[in-house]
Structures are given as C-alpha cells and as structure tokens.
C-alpha cells in the first residue's frame, strides 16, 4: 500500500480549475518531485494535501487515513509536515522556539500543568528542548538556537524551516521549493540535507522544485503538472525526454527545435522561470499561493 494515495483530486477557484483530476501514489521511502511551470497548481496541490484548501472532489489517503476535511493541524498530527515556498518562519521567535512549535502536535500540554509547572511538564519541556537542539545540529544550525529567526541568513532560514518540519516527526515531508533563491553552495548543502533526511531518518519526501539539476539529481520519481493536469510522470531521465514536458516549459515552437537528447536542461530553463516566482513573492504571496 502506498504511503500517500491521491485519487481524482479537483480544485477550482471561481472559473479556474487549479488542479484537475489529479491521481498520484507515493511509496514509502522515496524522494519524489513535482515540477511544472508557474501556475501549474503545484502549491495548490500541497495546500490540499495539508488541509489548507478543501478540494472540490477526490480523495486523499495517507497511511490509511483519509485527509479530506481534516484541518492542517490534524494532518500534521497524522504525520505530514511541510515547508513553504516563501519562507514562513515565526520571525520574532528564537530559532529553538521555532523548532519547539514544530513539536507542538506531539507535546501533551494542559494549561494546569503549565501553570503549576509540574514535574511531568518540566521533564517534557526539558526533553523537547534537548531534542530541538539536536535537530538544529542535524540541519547544521548548531549553536544558533537563541538567535531570532528573522536574523538568520536566507539559506539558514530554509534549513530552519526543515528543522521545524522535522520536529513534528513526520512520515512524509513536503518541501515547497526548498532551494529557491539559494546560491550553488547552499543548494548543494540543501540537497545533501534532503537526502540525509530520507536515508537516515527514513522520512518520505515530496518536493516542488524549479531547479532541474536538483530535481534530476535527487528524485526517484518526477511528476509534471501543467495547467492543473498531470502531463507526465516517471523516473527523472524519462521525464526529461518527454516532449510534452518540454513544450509545457518552453512553448511548442521551442520544444520542436530542441532535440530530446539534450543531456541536461539548459541553463535558460533553470533560470528562465524561477525569478518571477520570487519577484512577486514578498508582497503578493497570498495571491501567489492560490
């Protein structure tokens, strides 16, 4: 049985169908990617998987539980954690606190225990704090726990987001453009980290990414979305050669002039579509995510 099973998922915004009849299966232990041009419905898909949007139709099963109609926090509790396309840290909290919030679903807390500071409460807090520090070490943020999240450099913020998501002890980790805006060195580090998370922690990973090099390098399975529909799916090298995919990215004319045998996506492909996504992000992220 797959870890995640999506059947016939549909989401509309007014007249626009953002995701149309999407079917998907994800096996435990894979690193899978979803790619597609801007507005293809990738983030919408993530938002449906995490309960931010309720799909019009279709079903989503995770580990045998239906996710439809569940709130985001309940889905996190079931074992799906995520990061965001435009980093959404708790900026005015410290780095450790960010991770501690990530553990929220797992901490059994009652106001009374907190007020009376019972032994159980103290032990739990202590354990949580030790674990947070360990997680920060794991993602390479050791020793920066008391800084405010907003003061971290960009790459570290991405890492912190991953640490925060890991704190929920998920079985499935959804990463929304984990290397967007990173320099090559940072991207390489992030790639390593993602792989380690799968290999060492056994967490299944589903990521949205525009950096084709990363996608091709890391993924076991790649799915391509365009206009809300799945247009291709397969191992990275299969997808790379798929004509529809190239069309979707570059338009028909360009696609036909390219040979399917091109070794790797050309640099224009990588950079050509990342910037607009980032450019609008800070002010218009709301609209962007729809």
């Amino acid at each position: 049985m797959p870890l995640l099973e999506v059947r016939n998922l549909i989401k509309r915004f007014g007249g626009l169908t953002a995701v149309n009849k999407f079917n998907y299966e994800l096996e435990k232990g894979t690193i899978a990617s979803i790619i597609g041009p801007n507005g293809a419905g990738k983030t919408t898909l993530f938002n449906m998987l995490t309960g931010v949007y309720v799909p019009e139709e279709g079903k989503v099963e995770f580990n045998g539980n239906s996710l439809i109609g569940r709130r985001p926090d309940q889905i996190t509790f079931l074992g799906i954690a995520r990061t965001f396309q435009n980093i959404r840290l708790f900026n005015n909290m410290t780095v450790v606190e960010n991770v501690l919030v990530g553990m929220h679903a797992r901490l059994r807390v009652s106001i009374v225990h907190a007020l009376l500071k019972t032994k159980r409460f103290q032990e739990q807090e202590q354990r949580a704090k030790i674990e947070s520090v360990r997680l920060l070490d794991y993602v390479g943020l050791g020793g920066r726990g008391d800084e405010l999240a907003r003061n971290l450099p960009y790459g570290d913020q991405r890492r912190l987001e991953i640490a925060r998501a890991l704190a929920a002890e998920p079985r499935l980790l959804l990463l929304d453009e984990p290397t967007a805006g990173m320099n090559p060195q940072e991207t390489a580090d992030a790639t390593r980290l993602i792989r380690r998370v799968r290999d060492e922690l056994g967490i299944t990973i589903l990521l949205i990414e525009h950096d084709m090099r990363l996608v091709m390098e890391i993924s076991d399975w790649v799915t391509v979305l365009d206009y809300g529909e799945k247009i291709a799916e397969g191992k990275p090298e299969e997808v790379r050669r798929n004509l529809r995919v190239i069309e979707a990215y570059l338009g028909k004319g360009v696609a036909s002039s390219l040979t399917p045998e091109a070794n790797s996506p050309r640099p224009e492909v990588e950079t050509g579509f990342t910037p607009p996504d980032q450019a609008a992000a800070p002010t218009q992220n709301d609209g962007q995510e729809r």
């Binding site: 938002n47 949007y53 002010t283 218009q284 709301d286 995510e289 729809r290």
Partner: protein, 384 residues
C-alpha cells in the same frame, strides 16, 4: 475588490452616451430600487403577519391597526437612515477595496462633515444671511463645504497615519486608525471649545427645509428627508460615474486589483490611494451634513455609532463592493428602524428601542459568521 461588477472597464472608450455607458451608470440605480422596495415589502409583510398572529396585546390593544398606522412613516424613516448609512458605508468599502484595511477613523470623517455643515449654517444664520439664500444653493453650499473639509482631512490622515504603515502587518494600521479616530474626536472638541466655547452643535432651523408634505394622518414627509434621499442618490450616481467611467476611477480600480502591477503600468499608486480617501472622505462628509440636517444635533462623538453601523452595512453588502455598500446601508436602515419601532409593540415594553444599537452589532456578527461574503461581496475569511 469587485468594482468590475459595477462597471465594465471598457466603458470609457465607448463614449459618454453609449447605451453601455448608460447601463453602467444606472444599473445600480435599478438594483437600489429593487432592494429598497424589496426590503420594505418583506419587512412590512413580516411585521403585519406577526401583528395578525399576535393580534391583541395583554392590555387589549389591536396590534394590527397600531402597526399599520405607522408603517408608511417607518418605511420613510428607514429609507432616510438607510441612505445615510449607505453613504458612510461607501467610504469604508472603497478604502477596504483598495487597501484591505478598515479605516476606523472614517466615522470621524463623517462627524467632521456634520460639524462643518453645522458651523457654516450657524455662521450664516448668525450673519442673518439665511433668508437671502436660495435654498438649493444653500444645500449645495453646506454639502460642498462638508465634503471639501472631510475629504481633505481624510487625505491628510492617510498621508500622516496610514501611508507610513502601508506594508506593516495588518493590525498595525488598524490600531493607528483607532488612534486617529480618538484623536480627531477630541481635536474637533478642542477646536469647537476654543472657538465657540461649546461643542454640542445644533443645526439652525432653515424655514424652507422645515416644510413638510403631509399625506393624511399616517404619513408626513419633511423636506429634509427628501433632501437626504435625493442628495444621496445623486452622490451615489456621481460616484458610480467617477469610479466606473473616468480615468481616476480606472486608476483606483487598478490599484485595488493589484497594487504592484498597477504601479508597473505607470499608475501613481500613492495618488490613487489618496484619491480613494478623498472620494470616500468627501462622501462621508456629505453624509455627515445630511445627517446633521435631518437629526439636528451633533457633537464630536456623533460619528462613532453611525460609523460602526455603516461598517456593518459595508460588510452586509460585501465589503469592497460599492453597490453592495449601498444595498447594505439600505437594508440595515430598514432592519434597524423596523426593529426599534416595532420591538416594544410586540414585547409590550420588555424590550424596545434601547436595543436598537446592538441590533446592528447582532447583524454584523451573524453576517460575518454565516455569510461572510455579504449580500454580494467577496469572501472575508482568512486568506491562506
């Protein structure tokens, strides 16, 4: 922001007198008429039905005749109040449409209009100049004065207290707006106190406004009521034209749609926002003058309750939607006047007009919970 439902964007290019144009301008009028009549009919039927069911009160009064005897008057009063609310609500809705921000100080902009109108009238009356004035001119003069000052204050407030906060988290400009609201109340009070040594102002009697048209015993419409309704309708049409068919309106709508894109298209965003405040503020000021004219006394704290109610009206109609704000105002005016007029008749005094003000809050809460879109608006819930 749904202004495009009010007016198709291409209207301008078709020339002023095209049928498309006319439809754009007057469609809301039809909608307004339908809603006004509809609300009046529905509410009248409800109270009459209730009166028939619970016909005799414990003291033997026939509720049906009682209800019927004041019904025409209640409907007229409802309309007057509704149009005042509608005009204030436009200010909230326009600013919300453009900035997604509740301009809490709009109620004070309204109040300032009322105060300015009163001062102009009082000065004229003190100068014994009232009699010499053509009544129509007088009306235009005080409304214009109220609009000018209110619009200006709104622009200044935006420049000083909101613009620096435009990219701050949502609550920051709201708190600033609350501060502005309180500041303006006391500022007006201080100025009036220094100048007039009193801050409760009464609109002097203008004989030509005080006339009435009587329809038998049951209905009695004062000129003032007619002035309020007519002026409000004219304003609403003018606004509709401004937003729907002029370049200014276009820039406002563009900024409402997407600030960043509008700015890339060469629209001066700051100017468009300032214009929004100017227009909304001017309408608020006009509403203030009409309110003062109709209800006669005003003070620096007059604005607060009508302001909250007009905000309710804007939400009721679907905030961000200009036609919605008008309809919301009308509906709220009807609900409030009907509720307050008839509650005590039906509850035999146990509950009465004293609950008038919280009726609006009750409606606000119910609308927000059950139909956050309002009558014709966008979803109000948290965006993801």
């Amino acid at each position: 922001m749904q202004t495009e439902t009010v007016a198709p964007t291409r209207a301008v290019s078709r020339g002023i007198f095209s049928s498309q144009m006319l439809r754009t301008l007057f469609a809301p009028l039809g909608q307004l008429a339908i809603w006004t009549v509809g609300t009046a009919v529905v509410l009248s039927l409800v109270v009459l039905l209730l009166a028939l069911i619970f016909r005799t009160s414990s003291s033997g009064v026939d509720r049906f005749t009682l209800v019927l005897s004041i019904l025409p008057q209640v409907i007229v009063d409802s309309m007057v109040l509704g149009f005042v609310y509608a005009m204030i609500a436009l200010g909230y809705t326009m600013v919300y449409g453009v900035l997604e921000f509740i301009n809490f100080a709009h109620s004070e902009i309204f109040m300032i209009g009322a105060v300015v109108g009163a001062e102009v009238l009082i000065s004229l009356s003190e100068a014994k100049a009232l009699e010499n004035f053509n009544p129509l001119l007088l009306i235009l003069l005080i409304i214009a004065a109220g609009m000018a000052v209110s619009g200006l204050v709104a622009v200044v407030v935006e420049r000083v207290a909101y613009r620096p906060l435009r990219n701050a988290p949502r609550l920051v400009p709201l708190i600033s707006a609350i501060g502005v609201s309180f500041f303006l109340q006391d500022l007006v009070r201080m100025l009036e106190s220094i100048w007039r040594n009193a801050f409760y102002r009464t609109y002097p009697d203008v004989p030509s406004f005080s006339q009435r048209i009587s329809f038998g015993d049951t209905l009695d419409v004062s000129y003032k009521s007619i002035i309020v309704v007519v002026a409000a309708i004219v304003m609403l049409l003018a606004l509709n034209y401004l937003v729907g068919a002029t370049k200014i309106g276009k820039s406002i709508r563009a900024v409402a749609q997407n600030r960043a894109t509008a700015s890339l298209m060469g629209i001066d965003v700051d100017r468009a926002i300032a214009l929004t405040f100017l227009v909304g503020g001017a309408l608020g000021g006009a509403a203030g003058v009409l309110y003062g004219l109709r209800f006669s006394t005003i003070n620096p704290y007059t604005g607060f309750i009508p302001g909250i109610k007009a905000f309710t009206a804007a939400v009721l109609g679907g905030i961000g939607n200009i036609t919605g704000a008008m309809l919301g105002g009308i509906v709220l005016g009807f609900l409030e006047t009907f509720g307050a007029s008839y509650l005590s008749i039906f509850t035999e005094g146990a509950f009465g007009a004293e609950y008038k003000d919280i009726l609006a809050f009750g409606i606000l809460i119910i609308v927000l919970i059950f139909r956050p879109k309002g009558l014709l608006g966008e979803v109000v819930g948290e965006r993801a």
